[in-house]
Amino acid sequence: MLFSLRELVQWLGFATFEIFLHLLALLAFSVLLVLKVDNADFGLTWWKVFVPFFAADGLSTYFTTIVSVRLFQDGEKRLAVLRLFWILTILSLKFVFEMLLCQKLVEQTRELWYGLIMSPVFILLQLLMIRACRVN
């Protein structure tokens, strides 16, 4: 729409399959969220609702590690290290956000305010903006 798939892959640094994986995780998460909110007697905890996101992060890390090892073996050492570093940064920021949000939903503590929970997302946005300038 606004971006072609090629531009998205270039900008985000994820492979098409990884984007597919994260979309699938979002779909599964939304289904579990609806089950949790609409059917309170379903017995789902917030940690279980967030499982698709954690699984997608884990699978994405595994996939990236394999791709980086293959790139390293093919002699593309700089590209392999840069790709691994970038994806791990993005995934760890996403993971921290998910953990904090889940913690907040479970405990409902006042100390964990939403500005703090969202801070990894704000950092992620700045990083994506910087990367867009480089890719452009």
Binding site: L2, L5, F17, F20, S30, V34, L125, A132, V135, N136
Partner: protein, 134 residues
Amino acid sequence: MRMSLAQRVLLTWLFTLLFLIMLVLKLDEKAPWNWFLIFIPVWIFDTILLVMLIVKMAGRCKSGYDPRNGSQNIKKKVWYLVAMLLKLAFCLTLCAKLEQFAVVKLAYVFIPLWALLMGGMIELGYNIFYVRRD
């Protein structure tokens, strides 16, 4: 005239940032605004995208346009239009639910989002498995 990647990224970044800031203010109870107001950046961004899409589709009606090279393109544009409308429907019903204008189950609110995600995944799956085999 096509915007450069940096311009498109800047547009997306700006509206996402504005929306997130307003969302945080609302969730932390610092801003007692209506949910429809919190979603203003989303409405503006969606309107810009819709206008851009409609202008591009209307370009086919110009005299001298050769429809032979655009049959695949128009299908894609129609899908994008449907996707935008689904996203808009999801945001509107979500706001109505959060403002408690209507007592509806969350499942009904999420139906447009599920349709959008499935459409997006079919398109991505086609790009991953079908195009690569060709």
